[in-house]
């Protein structure tokens, strides 16, 4: 079933690409000749990136759905007003008609509650992407860090960023819901079953499937539970290996020269667009003139400084867990374009190459499609 879903996405991506562009696939092959022939320069996932851009264009061309929109619930049946009045006292007579909102299909159209495109990444009430950058929405353990230059890349940063992003987009925590098995049970055999139960839920998220996680408040709590914590740390390490060991991973490590101003501006523009499309993208960069001193982080949000320059706010997995909230609220760790046109990062100084992680678009496409399916089924929009 998982494979079917992955192939569906790939198939969708290819179809989107073919329908939006030149039908001559081999022509496309020629066009990307240089990209394929020079694996250490500008490795790109041609079809996926095109499919992503196609959806991006469609998403920005229509009015974006807000995250706050309350509508009056449908009028009640005659004779039921009394009950409705009592209910209204307990619960206001409104529901949220936004992506993942509280309305029913009778009260709000499916196109608003389970939208196509990147609006499906929105959460009710969320105003900015930086709201994800909180301790509650983060793994309970840091990636590493501390110490000198070498230690600054310690850990499995790319995996840490990927897993965090997957949980932020796909996990639906509900502390009050009763899980199948309780981790707090006095019965040891039930506790054992609970470990397996939660491990399966974690596997689902790692497979880019939307997943309800009952009995747990948030990512920080889940990833701090003994037994679960080490399982998630293993997932982080494996996720790093899958990305860093590939040619795409190696190519980033070798890009240590300063980027030209036009390249830096293009990079910042693409990251801004990702954030405007409700994503905290994964980026990978290398310290300037220091090959293989490479790091991967999430971009939490962006701001514009007094001179009108864009500032990227970084969600760095190396920082102490105690600093996560501050980083989210104040954009304390930031990337800017320097006077020489290259990029500078407040925690690292000048950096060389920086790019969107090669898995970011493919993950976003797969997650978007799976979230839409999940939302449709949750809200009864699939009937």
């Amino acid at each position: 079933m998982r494979k079917a879903s992955i192939v569906n996405v790939l198939f969708l991506a290819l179809l989107l690409f073919m329908s939006g562009c030149d039908q001559n696939m081999l022509g496309a092959g020629y066009a990307i000749k240089n990209v394929v022939a020079k694996p250490f320069q500008a490795i790109g996932s041609y079809f996926t990136d095109n499919a992503y851009e196609d959806i991006e264009q469609k998403s920005t061309s229509k009015n974006s759905i807000p995250t706050e929109c309350w509508v009056k619930r449908k009028s009640v049946l005659p004779g039921m007003e009394g009950i409705q009045n009592i209910t209204d006292v307990i619960r206001e007579n409104v529901c949220s008609c936004v992506p993942w909102g509280s309305c029913t299909v009778d009260e709000c159209p499916c196109s608003r509650m389970c939208p196509d495109g990147f609006d499906i990444f929105k959460r009710p009430g969320q105003k900015t992407m930086s709201e994800f950058t909180t301790l509650e929405n983060s793994l309970s353990f840091s990636n590493g860090g501390g110490g000198g230059e070498i230690e600054s890349t310690q850990g499995f940063c790319w995996g840490h960023a990927s897993v965090t992003s997957q949980f932020n987009r796909l996990a639906f925590f509900d502390k009050s819901a009763k899980p199948e098995y309780s981790l707090n049970s006095k019965d040891k055999s039930e506790q054992k079953k609970a470990f397996e139960y939660y491990k399966d839920l974690i596997d689902n998220v790692i497979d880019n499937k939307p997943t309800k996680i009952p009995g747990i408040k948030n990512l920080n709590e889940l990833s701090g539970i003994p037994g679960i914590e080490s399982y998630m740390a293993d997932k982080v390490a494996h996720s790093w290996g899958k990305r860093a060991m590939s040619t795409q991973g190696l190519s980033v490590g070798l890009s240590s020269s300063a980027m030209k101003r036009s390249e830096s501006e293009e990079f910042f523009k693409s990251i801004k667009e990702k954030i405007d499309n409700n994503q905290q993208p994964q980026i990978v960069f290398t310290k300037r003139n220091k090959r293989m001193i490479t790091h991967a982080v999430l971009v939490s949000d962006y701001t514009v400084d007094r001179n009108g320059n864009t500032v990227l706010c970084i969600r760095d997995n190396n920082i102490s867990r105690r600093r996560v909230n501050l980083a989210g609220q104040s954009c304390s760790d930031k990337m800017t374009i320097g006077a020489d046109g290259g990029i500078s990062y407040s925690l690292w100084g000048d950096i060389g190459g920086a790019e969107l992680a090669f898995n970011d678009n493919s993950d976003a496409l797969e997650q978007m499609r799976n979230l839409k399916e999940h939302c449709d089924s949750e809200k009864g929009c699939d009937q």
Binding site: V9, N24, R291, R321
Partner: protein, 264 residues
């Protein structure tokens, strides 16, 4: 009734499996048909095979990705096969958390023949794979992007060979406090093994205090270390209990737990 439900489930699974095969065949058909349609040269085929391998890798379709990279490698063309060789190594790891000697040797052979072995990036990558998966001793490079992975595999190897002092020297005490419980346990065990029972402060203890009734292997392991540091000897039963829970919970730290008997 149960049998009936199981039957329905199986039917659905088969449907998905068939759909899966069908969709995959359609995706492949896009590449194959285009190659045939244009009467493409081997060089063109190589580009498309490489591209298919890359895209399928991105969607974690490792088996299929492998197939395409293999096809790219098999073609007798002068094109650069770096990506295919490196990604075949990455596929090994993605599928089994290890790298086969066959994939590694084949990549080395290609890079040597093509003289790409002199490229700094290739050299560093191959050295990383060799040090992390094949070379069990000797000087290793723990710097940079791939350094941590090599370091982790070295620490594991050193612990397995009871070289605790050396393993401990590879850990950075500054960064342990904020790390996951398995890392903390490794650090606490190594300090205990090297320094002995001296009422050492344990980084894992905080979790035991927070989750005293947890049956997690990591809590059992930390409790044993707490006991050891309080001056008590670990009994055979203590060690067996920790090992049993680590085994049952399929912990990747079982190699560490097996050495708890060395805490004298």
């Amino acid at each position: 009734m149960k049998f009936f439900l199981l039957l329905i489930l199986l039917v659905f699974q088969n449907t998905f499996a068939n759909e899966d095969t069908k969709k995959l065949a359609e995706v492949e058909k896009i590449f194959i048909e285009e190659i045939k349609k244009q009467n493409s040269s081997d060089k063109d085929k190589f580009l498309l095979y490489n591209l298919a391998g890359r895209e399928l890798y991105n969607y974690k379709f490792y088996e299929k990705s492998k197939e395409y990279f293999e096809k790219a490698i098999e073609l007798d063309v002068p094109s650069d096969k770096t990506e295919a060789h490196i990604n075949l190594i990455a596929i090994d790891y993605a599928r089994s958390k290890t790298v086969s000697k066959k994939s590694y040797d084949r990549a080395v052979e290609y890079f040597t023949k093509s003289k790409k072995i002199n490229d700094e990036g290739i050299k560093e990558y191959l050295s990383f794979i060799n040090m992390s998966f094949f070379k069990k001793s000797g000087v290793k490079n723990y710097k940079g992007f791939y350094g941590e992975f090599t370091k982790q595999s070295s620490i594991k190897n050193l612990i397995q060979h009871e070289k605790y002092k050396e393993a401990l020297s590879l850990m950075n005490p500054q960064s342990v406090k904020d790390r996951d419980l398995a890392t903390k346990l490794r650090y606490d065990f190594l300090r205990s093994a090297v320094l002995g029972s001296k009422k050492l402060e344990l980084t894992c203890k905080e979790k035991v205090d927070a989750y005293p009734h947890s049956i997690a292997w990591s809590i059992e392991a930390c409790k044993a270390l707490v006991k050891y540091q309080s001056g008590e000897k670990l009994t055979r039963k203590d060690i067996q209990n920790v090992e049993k829970s680590a085994k049952e919970q399929e912990s990747s730290s079982l190699y560490l737990i097996k050495k708890f008997g060395d805490l004298k």
